[in-house]
Symmetry: D2
Subunit: 348 residues, 4 copies
């Protein structure tokens, strides 16, 4: 019963098969192969418009290099206080930009509101150069706490950003999980709602290592080949990433994998709700489930083989008494049997 | 007949098999799995001493992050004018260090001499802060032109570096090819000869994407976890890199692959020497073969399906008349049939 | 009645005289003159121990380059949320370090507590490289809101920093004002209390442009000549800064100027206290006075020629009703007549 | 007889007088005073067009921050191998840009030719991202070896730069000396000849510390307020720099000072030419004189009180036999008596 992280899952067989097939042939290095060349079209068909695509090694690289593409000196990115770029990337954005900063906004359920963003933007002024300048807004979809921005919420954020001349970046490490949870199209959840730059993650959803920066505003793509290369993220055998993405995006594998992960999380949510021993800390519809349970129960579950992480208290939930907050994550690899076994365990 | 680059080859089946096996299980992310944890010991056994090992996405990342670990403000890395870090990495060292520079030394056969390094170090002085300060020496083994530093040459370079308090970095993108060409041990070619930091490349020699920074001086390893993380090079599913390296290093696969590539290059060198139509531009013993041939011949070979790159004139060889300089690279994937077919072609 | 900022004052005549005298002779450039060479000794006598001293152009440069001297990759400086380095320097620390970050702690009266610093340090762990690493603690003396850390408070902060292996930096833009307010020695307020690096400001207290990084821990000074040079802060005619500091520090001019400024602020505080129309927002003993007054009064004072800035609400004081918060700053140039005129005005 | 450097001279009395006057009044900090506000107009009148002007602490800051304004990732600035930005600024350009590089071109008499620049630009290609991208051309006027680019030469360089979409930067540390030597207008020597960005130096020509970035292309000025602020180069009492520049530029003081320095150098050149004991190494018309003389003579001159620096051999002059190469620099402070005394000395 492995619920520690979707990063702990292996890789989908279709992904490995595609890599194995790729291994048997010669092809151009550094993104010059035919398969590499077909990627822009493949992503274009997924997003229903022309896009520029840049593969990098990790989600951290995708986020920080995407934001480096919109860097301004003394620049400040507005983001949620719990966002991955703030809390979990060792200052990567500040590093890739040579010193830009993140301004952390708080917000319920992992989301920052358009009005809070607007207020914060208003604190900057060209007359007060000491304060620096806003350079971008970054949101995470699905959020770090398993929730999703609705299309309207994204549009409201992008409207505020756009009216201030700021690009909107979306960290989509769990893009697919959010997409199937919302039941919308990739286009609707991104550029149609005003997203300029997307970190599109495949790794958590069944790939080995497949992360892409997708650029909807062609101007912002101009410097990305150099930003990626100088950062050491241009794979010599990039076609092995292309092969992963081809398998991932063709025949809707990615949507199937995410649908499955979310469905397993639905089962898990049902188990929690009906357990009488633990509670959902807040509602989620993706593959992350946040649960309040007695510390003793968590201990017992772990002793019996269930793996999951404790989670720090948030503005959305502060456990009291003997309760603690934990996170359970499902993935493409989670099985109904895993959930059933967990259900048996929790029932005791 | 694919001689464009060893980067154009696919991947060895043992490497893919290891990844496929890894795909089927859960394990800790970000280098926390048991397999990841065993890597230091595995590399330690290969190098016959305790080492610290950091996997990254590319050779450019390995070089630039390794050198960032020895950065000094106003720092200058001494290297060959044709070195990969100078000519082919988009300023990655300057980027990762936030502004350090490379000082290009010339030298025959892709190598810089201990005495030239010593003279150059002598141009820096703490009394002339305007000039900056030397921070490291970097050599490439095998070199960019297919040659190798002998153990004595490495020791001489490291002696000069050490006496000036400078660490010695080795770019080992083709480490294995050099090693088997010299018929020495990994320990002899590195720390026993005074190398402090090594970029250890597996990708060109049959891996999908397997590059490591190997640190022989433990002090230099202290900051590398942070240098790697902030640069976006900590893979979430790092164990897929570990799996590659395990397959690569166990049972001497890496040496077998390099021995094969070099042997294919030996055959190719024989073909050139006996062709009567082309000549070796300079002697090499690794998997790169530099050839002077009439432009018309190159054209004819390409039309018949041989793939290889032109090479710019160097201080070692300046083609005259109708001659041009070309580079032929063999790999683990090259077959005796490829060489035989090329031999037939060149004979006309 | 100029109370906008001590930065709005001109320069003390002794400072200008020293520069005028310096203008008449030849001397070595880039800090090689005899006067430049005497600076370490001069500062050493002021601080009663050997120190290293580096002049730079601005307080922002002093702060950011001092902190660059203790940079670590993924590094985080702990500081007050209202500190100058966080709020007023356009991300200079992040820039000079190539990407380190500031962690803002809140705290009453502009001060961060040893226990809060300790708790925050505890959130970092080498096992969670994603979070980065603490690299320094920075405090401001006098603080941004005119208060001072007592010697015991500084010692408590330094104790927490030291036990975590972190250097302690002090932003001393108004060092002299704090010193005379506390009536202690420079040594007591710095290295004897555990300060490792000091930004020592002369500009606000009567100089034209005289800012120094003073280093008490010799190891931390090693790279500063290069850090300063690469940042463009090594003045060619540095001796004009040395001349300022010589005039400033000799015969206690600096203490006299600060004593005067503080005394003028004392008079101002008396005026406010006895005005019946405005109140001190919180107690200060340096040259900054924070006042709560009706907006209409502020308007009237300004119309009559008093210059001062509005100040945003803080955790220490949130004005209510028709009240606003304003800041009045005295300087070496403030006269008793200025205060008397202001007293007349406020009385109406 | 002080010929070590124009940096060794003090400051012109008019400059000091302006600062002394400024010291006696209050005025807005950080460039907000009326005097500061008048600077754009003052420089505009000097350059006969609208310009943006940014004061910084040093020439190194001016050069590196100006080039940071035109930074591109993986960027390469083309410059002379002996240029100040390459040889004497501790990697400041690479630092301010977070990793851009300089490509050193050789060229006679301190100048790079339009055709060499064109060839070098041709080595970059968007198809070879590994090589980075050209980002600017930088020339020095007067050059590091005392010569000047003619208007035609500047125009030819700018034509090549412009046709490749690259901005042209001019390092004008000795701008005034070049200007009066060529007898042209500031407009002719800059934007009319295609210069986009100018480092305009006043310090070497009689100021205390007065360096400006002058921007002729308004787009390039947009980010400079932030680039300067984050680098710690926004003086709080900027008006003391403005006061210097006002005195410097008004009533042609700057031209008078440079005319005098050049005239003193003319006298010195005459002395050398007619000495029979030393020779001009190459012709110059500015305030730097490069001389070939017997080592013994140099020794004797120094013993008798003449101060000057040895100069390394260049592509323009390689001393032979007992000869060495030395540099003599005149300044606003040099007197005819100094020259006469030197003439007496050299005659023996």
């Amino acid at each position: 019963m492995q619920f520690a992280s979707d990063n702990w899952a292996g890789a989908a067989p279709q992904i490995i098969d595609a890599m194995a097939e790729e291994a048997q042939r010669y092809a151009g290095a550094y993104g010059t192969s035919e398969r590499d060349a077909s990627m822009a079209e493949l992503f274009g068909s997924v997003f229903e418009r022309e896009v520029a695509v840049f593969f990098v090694a990790t989600g951290t690289a995708a986020n920080s290099i995407a934001l480096a593409a919109v860097d301004r000196p003394g620049g400040v990115v507005l983001c949620h206080a719990h966002s991955h770029i703030e809390a979990d990337e060792c200052g990567a954005v500040s590093f890739q930009t040579g010193g830009s900063r993140l301004r952390q906004l708080s917000g319920k359920l992992g989301k920052i509101s358009a009005s809070d963003i607007g207020s914060e933007i208003g604190t900057f002024s060209p007359d007060f150069v000491h304060g620096g300048q806003a350079m971008a807004v970054s949101i995470t979809q699905a959020t770090e706490v398993g929730t999703t921005y609705s299309l309207d919420e994204i549009a409201a954020v992008s409207e505020v950003a756009r009216s201030a001349g700021l690009p909107l970046h979306m960290d989509g490490a769990r893009f697919a999980n959010a997409l199937v949870a919302l039941n919308v199209s990739p286009a609707e959840m991104t550029w149609k709602a005003g997203v300029d730059l997307l970190s599109f993650g495949g790794t958590k959803n069944g790939c080995v290592a497949a992360e892409a920066i997708v650029v909807f505003n062609p101007e912002l793509a101009e410097q990305l080949p150099y930003l990626r290369m100088r950062a050491g993220h241009l794979f010599s055998k990039m076609r092995f990433v292309s092969a992963q993405f081809e398998a991932y995006l063709k025949d809707s594998l990615w949507l199937d994998l995410a649908t499955h992960a979310n469905a397993m999380a639905d089962l898990l949510r049902d188990v929690i709700r009906s357990s009488g021993k633990a509670d959902l800390a807040w509602p989620t519809a993706t593959n992350e489930v946040f649960v309040s349970m007695p510390e003793g129960l968590a201990e017992r579950l772990r002793e019996s083989g269930a793996a999951f992480h404790n989670w720090p208290p948030t503005e959305d939930f502060e456990p009291t008494g003997d309760r603690i907050l934990v996170r359970l994550v499902t993935s493409f690899a989670t099985t109904p049997d895993d959930i059933a076994a967990f259900a048996d365990l929790i029932r005791g």
